[in-house]
């Protein structure tokens, strides 16, 4: 396909604003799938993505579109994740496009994460085309929302297309606008090959598959290619595009987006953001690539049955093949035995990893409360990173401790400014900026990240009745009077329950924690004492009273198998519990510090 007839674009949208429905419409219009093959949300392949309605990994479909001017165009739609945890994936998707559609729900208005993604797109010099979706809803206010887009994001939106992806209203006009208003790629066709690895994943049947964007030159099946960062050469065994069906091709031309397979053993052989070239005619330089992401949230993960440790290790390494952001190293807890300290991009990432380990790998495990990374300066002047609260030395053994501070941008209707501000203050936030844009208010707050991982997201949703959205970026490490809050169960310190808290909040936190643990730990054969302590000082306590008895009242010769089933049910209930000393502690108790019960936070 000649470059002037290619358009590479992505869709920026908040969850439920209709991105997937719109993408499905595009596929339908371009005949990528027969109607009977359409499965709702074609692009979200992973069952977890489909269930939660979120996108985790970048995907791409190549559509052939016959425009009203009679010409045939190749439209490459690169899907983007919308959650802040996966913003690095967004920048990857954006880097392979020349334009973006900003899809906004005309009844709801713009939302923080879309704003942030839109800024990223503009920084990367993409042309952004706003689209107002769901205009069929009775409470749609396209005029107001168009104004909001202009105010908040600063791009013209008065002429934005008014569409309904659900009914199909004006959807063909969107494709026409993509052709008319988004630029084609401008690569040099006869230059040496230069292609960007947008994503790589491990497929059990094909090995490593890479999604690539050809910047200059072309790439042919059977040719050798060089991964520039490693200098290693591979032969390309096959390549092609997804329509979304997998279609093999002989070549990818300048400006095209497609997948390739080259017999690479693991995804570290085809690093995301790397540049591919032709070893016989290499290009002069590497493409800028992507900023490497650092995990910001850490949690311990321990198999409930110690015998499962090796299986667990293998599962993590398999998972990592498709998730290069996942980091882990072995951890040994006195209370929980051998496990791993796992680093995540954020809370949603953590939940997803946990869910995949359980579902796809059938690992029964305990996850400890997530912690951010702290920095301490030892008495010897040495600076250390602490990603596990249990490893924080006693107060006298370090000079100072610093916590990560993030800059949060919260976007909400004006009615909720009061409660949201109050919540941010409670979380030790410092307000930096407050801007009113018609029906939306943008608040910028600096907050300790440790407070945000606790329960900020759930609380924000609850104080704003779901209307507030937020996104954040890391700012700096900042000194703070932080202490380690230990939890003792029947007199023994449980390292996996330790947390790092602000000194002023320690007493209240300790009390809350003891109360919640009392509710979450089931009654056992004996009284269980729960204590919160700072150093050697006990600051709060509670007791789980002993269960008096647990025995079948009646058992005669008759129906052994029915009674047995009853006991099997009891045993099943213990699966999610870990024996710590003589006490059985359920998974929820290890997360008690998170406060409000974490429901699956639909947070795209």
């Amino acid at each position: 396909m000649k470059q002037s007839n290619i358009r590479n674009f992505c869709i920026i949208a908040h969850i439920d604003h209709g991105k997937s429905t719109l993408a499905d419409r595009f596929i339908q219009i371009c005949g990528g799938l027969e109607l009977r093959e359409m499965q709702a949300q074609v692009l979200d392949n992973n069952p977890i993505e489909r269930e939660r309605g979120i996108t985790i990994k970048a995907q791409a479909v190549s559509l052939e579109y016959k425009a009203r001017n009679g010409e045939v165009y190749q439209l490459n739609l690169i899907d983007t994740p919308g959650h802040v945890d996966f913003s690095y994936e967004v920048s990857r998707s954006l880097a392979s496009c020349e334009g973006a559609l900003l899809v906004v729900d005309a009844s709801q208005g713009v939302e923080a994460q879309s704003v942030a993604n839109c800024y990223t797109a503009l920084e990367l010099n993409l042309d952004v085309l706003p689209v107002l979706n769901k205009v069929d809803l009775h409470n749609a206010e396209p005029e107001r929302v168009a104004k909001e887009i202009e105010d908040v994001i600063g791009i013209p939106a008065q002429d934005a297309l008014r569409i309904s992806a659900k009914t199909g209203l004006n959807v063909p006009d969107v494709l026409e606008a993509v052709i008319a208003n988004l630029p084609p790629p401008k690569g040099i066709e006869d230059a040496p090959l230069q292609a960007l690895i947008v994503d790589s994943w491990f497929d059990n049947y094909l090995g490593v598959v890479s999604l690539v964007r050809v910047i200059n030159g072309r790439i042919r099946k059977g040719q050798k290619m060089r991964v520039m960062s490693t200098g290693k050469d591979y032969e390309i065994t096959s390549l092609g595009v997804h329509t979304p069906k997998r279609v093999f091709k002989d070549a990818l031309e300048t400006g095209e987006v497609g997948f390739l397979i080259a017999g690479i053993k693991d995804i570290f052989g085809a690093p995301v953001g790397d540049t591919l070239t032709d070893p016989s005619r290499p290009c002069a330089e590497q493409l800028p690539g992507f900023k490497k992401v650092q995990p910001r949230v850490f949690a311990g993960m321990f198999p409930i049955d110690a015998d499962d440790f090796e299986d667990f290790r293998e599962s993590l390494s398999k998972l990592r093949l498709n998730d290069s952001a996942l980091q882990y190293e072995p951890e040994n807890s006195t209370a929980l035995g051998f496990g791993f300290r796992v680093g995540f991009l954020g809370m949603l990432h953590m939940e997803i990893v946990q869910e995949r380990l359980e579902r796809e790998y059938d690992i029964n495990m305990i996850t400890t409360a997530p912690s951010v990374v702290y920095e301490i300066t030892g008495t010897d002047g040495e600076i250390r990173k602490i990603d596990n609260p249990a490893e924080l030395p006693e107060g006298s053994e370090f000079e100072d401790i610093r916590e990560p501070i993030i800059n949060c941008r919260v976007l909400m209707p004006p009615d909720y400014v009061g409660p949201v501000m109050q919540l941010c203050m409670e979380k030790r936030g410092t307000q930096r900026n407050l801007k009113y844009f018609g029906n939306q208010v943008q608040m910028e707050v600096e907050m300790p990240m440790g407070e945000v991982v606790l329960d900020f997201f759930d609380r924000l949703k609850s104080v704003s009745r779901g209307y507030a959205s937020f996104e954040y970026e890391f700012l700096r490490f900042q000194e703070a009077p932080l202490v380690k809050l230990d939890v003792l169960v029947n007199g023994d310190k449980v390292d996996a329950l330790a947390t790092i808290v602000h000194r002023d909040a320690a007493y209240a936190r300790g009390r809350d924690l003891c109360e919640r643990m009392q509710e979450l730990i089931p009654r056992q054969m004996f009284d269980v004492a729960i204590q919160a302590a700072i150093g050697s000082k006990i600051i709060a306590r509670s007791t789980v009273k002993a269960m008096r008895k647990n025995v079948l009242a009646k058992c005669y010769g008759g129906d052994i198998s029915r009674k047995k089933k009853l006991l099997e049910k009891q045993k099943e209930g213990k699966k999610r519990m870990k024996q710590v000393g003589a006490v059985e502690i359920p998974q929820e108790a290890f997360l008690a510090v998170l406060g409000v019960e974490r429901k699956s936070s639909k947070a795209d």
Binding site: R523, M525, K545, M547, R548, K549, N550, V551, L552, A553, K554, C555, Y556, G557, G558, D559, I560, S561, K563, K564, L567, E568, Q570, K571, K574, Q579, A582
Partner: protein, 390 residues
């Protein structure tokens, strides 16, 4: 994978007989036993014939049965006292011709205080029945009503008096505690009223909501755990003061009056089970075999004596044997001897010792050279221990 269970020498293992009578005047809301509300008359002779055909089927398959003495018979239900003394007498006589009854055989009949009259009881005694288990449940009129019973406290008093006059010197009363909205004081009064009837044996158990009962579907307000515990503790004291020692989780008896039939279940003895939905356990060269008959009276009557009456038939695997043995034998205060375990399961006692080596078992059982018994804590938390054996 479960290894095949070891062969067992049946001749050494005590044998009992259970007879099930599936009809009741009406079904109680808490009851999960195989019982069916009666419509019309009890098909007395048809059912007795069916029981005998049922036995013939067992005898055909296990020719060794007549050589094994029957230590006890229990006629349970349902409400077996809906059957006449004459019918039960005929049944027992026919059974004694086909099986060898031990000289000191215990023959218990479950009796509903609402179905009893003087002539009946004398006939039962004449038929050879020497123990009655009376379903009292409560001595409080309001509670009895709530429990859906067909009798009142006075009916219990007169049933006991009638039983004594008929010559029964071995009576059990079934009594429940932790009844809907019951206070510990009320439970204590209930127990005192039952003890005033001077039974030889008392089954004193906590009301629990069983699946597939009316109470499970619409749970009544039951006392909290701590209150139920208080009731049991004060009950234990009152029973001890009255000369009743606990020998099983919910069973109390005067000296020498323990229920032989129930003890056989708890000691993992063998038993034949005849009648609708009756369960049997028989040891043999293939290990322990469990069988159950068709539950529904009509299906049972139609199939009794043929292979179709068997609804469930399985050999207990070696792995399950340890669990099933403990599920029964650890209910006994006195526990059991290692020799008993080895004889009834065919497994070396080391298997059980290994299974109980975990920390959970430590405070719950005491082992010595002769055997194993539960601690008071273990007796109260038997389920916790048993789940570790699953």
């Amino acid at each position: 994978m479960n290894p095949a269970p070891p062969p067992l020498e049946a001749a050494c293992i005590p044998l009992s007989l259970y007879l099930h009578f599936p009809w009741c005047v009406r079904k109680c809301p808490y009851c999960d036993f195989n019982s069916h509300a009666l419509r019309g008359d009890v098909p007395e002779s048809a059912y007795i014939d069916a029981l005998l055909r049922d036995l013939a089927f067992d005898l055909d398959q296990h020719p060794d049965l007549p050589q094994r003495p029957i230590r006890s018979i229990f006629m349970g239900g349902g409400t077996p006292s809906l059957f006449s003394g004459r019918a039960l007498g005929g049944l027992l006589a026919a059974l004694s011709q086909r099986l060898s009854f031990a000289d000191d055989i215990e023959i218990t009949l479950e009796a509903n205080p609402g179905t009893i009259d003087e002539a009946h009881f004398a006939d039962y005694r004449m038929a050879g029945i020497n123990r009655l288990s009376i379903g009292v449940q409560s001595m409080d009129a309001a509670q009895l009503k709530r429990l859906g019973r067909i009798h009142d406290p006075d009916a219990v008093r007169s049933a006991v008096a009638v039983a004594r006059r008929a010559g029964f010197d071995n009576l059990n009363l079934d009594l429940m505690f932790a009844l809907p909205e019951q206070t510990p004081e009320q439970a204590d009064a209930d127990l005192a009223a039952a003890l005033a009837l001077e039974p030889e044996h008392l089954s004193y158990y906590q009301l629990t909501l069983e699946p597939n009962t009316e109470f499970a579907a619409r749970p009544p307000p039951l006392p909290a755990d701590d209150e139920a515990w208080t009731m049991q503790q004060q009950g234990l004291q009152r029973l001890a003061a009255a000369g009743f020692a606990r020998y099983e989780v919910s069973a109390y008896a005067r000296s020498g009056r323990q229920a032989r039939h129930n003890l056989n279940y708890w000691r993992f003895g063998d038993y034949l089970g005849l009648g609708a939905g009756a369960h049997a356990k028989l040891s043999g060269s293939a290990g322990v075999r469990r069988r159950a008959r068709h539950k529904h009276p009509k299906a049972y009557l139609d199939t009794a004596g043929s292979a179709e009456m068997i609804q469930e038939d399985r050999i207990v695997s070696a792995g399950e044997l340890v669990f099933e043995f403990c599920m029964n034998a650890l209910r006994l205060d006195a526990g059991f001897g290692w020799d008993e375990f080895e004889q009834r399961t065919g497994l070396p006692s080391s298997v059980l010792r290994a299974a109980l080596a975990g920390p959970a078992a430590q405070a719950m059982v005491v082992a010595d050279d002769t055997g194993l018994r539960p601690t008071p804590l273990g007796l109260q938390h038997l389920n916790t221990l048993l789940t570790t054996l699953l």
